[in-house]
């Protein structure tokens, strides 16, 4: 208990915990769970966007989309590395993803069905992610905090890019405008669900708050996101698909309708439109690439052997 108190004191003092520091095993476990889930989300998140790389309508947009996906791959690598500092291998993490033991953000179980979705994913999905992640830039675990600083910077760029994409389309033809409206209709509620269950239901929150792994509650962040996003939607000329949405003069916040938590639970359970497809794609990539990884290992071993022999001979 003394150790736990001392640990808590360090955290309360806003000191960063570093990989070689001793830490409570629950803290370590929570971090591994959360960081790896975040890493998996980056990797799975490449798929819905990858689905549009071959169909991007201009070279400039195609380049921007490729750059965004590249950033996401980079985030994935960065976050897996942060996880590895906690003593778990990337291979284990990926096995957990493929076995269904580890989760990734449910948002990527929705399909990207038209080009406006690429804008909406940047604007709403990255937007919600940033809202979740900005507090994590000050999270107590050093490598995670540093990773988040970089990730947030790049995702802000993606968010602006997504917004600009929609702005361009909303100034275009009727068909383009329809695509945008269709897109927000499909992504709005799933984006709100990205903040997780409402505070009444959330199981991990209080300990995580104390450890400063989490710094704001799900509902606080969700409200913040809505307050920031609704005016942007209106500026774009989009209707937010929530008949109960209304600005509350008293609180200064946007009141919104009930979230369909049944859908949320259903998707988390694996019954989203694309859950099976996403995992099938990831597992297929992993299995089809097994021979490549084996070859790389075999080659490295061959190179290492003569070198080791040479060193031994010295």
């Amino acid at each position: 208990q003394e150790f736990l108190d001392a640990f808590q004191a360090r955290i309360d003092d806003e000191q960063k915990i570093e990989p070689n520091d001793t830490m409570p095993s629950a803290y370590r476990k929570t971090l591994i769970r959360q960081i790896s889930q975040h890493a998996h989300s980056e990797i799975v998140g490449m798929l819905p966007e990858g689905n549009w790389v071959t169909r991007a309508p201009t070279l400039r947009r195609k380049a921007a989309l490729l750059a965004k996906i590249q950033d996401e791959g980079g985030h994935g690598m960065y976050l897996y590395s942060a996880c590895e500092t906690l003593g778990v291998s990337r291979e284990e993490l990926i096995d957990d993803l493929h076995s269904g033991k580890a989760k990734y953000s449910s948002i990527f179980n929705y399909p990207a069905l038209n080009w406006a979705d690429i804008g909406t994913i940047g604007w709403l999905v990255d937007g919600a992610a940033i809202m979740n992640q900005i507090p994590l830039c000050r999270t107590s675990f050093g490598p995670y905090s540093r990773a988040m600083i970089r990730v947030c910077k790049e995702e802000s760029f993606h968010q602006r890019q997504g917004y600009e994409l929609l702005l361009t389309m909303m100034q275009g033809s009727d068909e383009q405008k329809e695509m945008c409206q269709d897109s927000i209709n499909r992504w709005w509620w799933p984006a709100l669900m990205m903040f997780g269950p409402s505070d009444k239901e959330s199981i991990h929150s209080s300990q995580n708050m104390a450890w400063k792994i989490k710094r704001f509650s799900n509902d606080e962040l969700r409200q913040r996101f809505i307050d920031a996003t609704v005016p942007q939607a209106h500026f774009l000329g989009l209707e937010v698909p929530d008949p109960d949405l209304k600005f509350n003069e008293e609180t200064g916040h946007w009141d919104f309708g009930d979230i369909n938590w049944d859908e949320f639970v259903n998707v988390v359970r694996g019954n989203g439109i694309c859950n099976k497809q996403r995992m099938k794609d990831r597992v297929a990539a992993h299995e089809n690439g097994a021979w490549v990884r084996e070859a790389a290992l075999a080659y490295a071993a061959k190179r290492a052997a003569p070198q080791a022999a040479a060193e031994a001979a010295e």
């Binding site: 068909e175 383009q176 990539a285 089809n288 490549v292 084996e294 070859a295 075999a298 080659y299």
Partner: protein, 250 residues
């Protein structure tokens, strides 16, 4: 002359845009994330080259077309890319073989182009040269790793090289379009790059413990728009939105 220059620029742009498209098809499906990132990166470099080349071509043409009209609104027979770059990805070994065979040519190509009398081409070359240096190194490293890895990777890598070999002759083809530009000191004589290409390929294949295929019949036609049946399907995906919603700004 400007007609020849336009054709020349479009050929080079078509190469980069089609190869970039093929690499983009890998997105999220590579053997490990590092490779997803690497292939996306190469794809991105090539799109950048394509944009520079198409924009300059549009300027030379002077008909008010832009990079996107050139990329998205020409049909299969108007595309003049090398047949090599339109070949399907196959497995990772074949993708690396394609990249090796192309980049080993393009590196000395852009190096030489940096001295072109056409200043804009020289500037495009200066940027591309740096990028292709990395593309070549990446492809060469994987060729060696896979060639000298496991028996399976050796077999696959050899197959990739063997299957694509007959498309490498087209790298060295030149016609009257190019001859006039070469004389004018604008374009590069591909024949002058053969030595460098051969040396790179020999060296990589040797280190990879792979066999250099015998030079047999070589398949050409891309520069005149006669392609393999693969290009059409790539274009229907690539151009779909521009075709389905004409005259839109995206």
């Amino acid at each position: 002359m400007s007609d020849a220059l336009f054709k020349y620029l479009v050929r080079l742009a078509d190469d980069t845009v089609i190869l970039s498209h093929r690499l983009g098809e890998w997105c999220g499906h590579a053997s490990h994330i590092e490779e997803d990132v690497a292939m996306t990166n190469i794809s991105l470099d090539l799109i950048g080259q394509a944009r520079n080349l198409y924009s300059y071509a549009a300027e030379v043409e002077g008909k008010g077309r832009d990079e996107d009209q050139l990329a998205y609104l020409r049909n299969e027979r108007e595309f003049t890319n090398l047949i090599l770059v339109e070949q399907p990805n196959g497995d990772f070994g074949k993708t690396m073989a394609r990249q090796l065979l192309y980049s080993a040519f393009m590196l000395p190509f852009w190096e030489a182009m940096m001295a072109s009398k056409d200043k804009q081409l020289a500037a495009i070359a200066a940027k591309a040269e740096k990028e292709v240096t990395y593309h070549l190194r990446h492809a060469a490293e994987w060729t060696i790793r896979l060639g000298d890895g496991t028996p399976e990777s050796h077999r696959r890598m050899q197959e990739g090289i063997d299957e694509l070999w007959m498309y490498t002759g087209e790298l060295f083809v030149k016609d009257e379009v190019e001859e006039r530009l070469i004389e004018a000191g604008i374009a590069i004589d591909p024949e002058s790059l053969r030595g460098a290409w051969e040396r790179t390929i020999e060296e990589v294949l040797t280190r990879a413990t792979l066999k250099r295929p015998e030079d047999g019949w070589m398949h050409v036609g891309g520069r005149n728009g006669v392609h393999t049946e693969h290009l059409g399907h790539a274009l229907s995906d690539f151009q779909y939105l521009q075709r389905a919603y004409p005259d839109c700004t995206w």
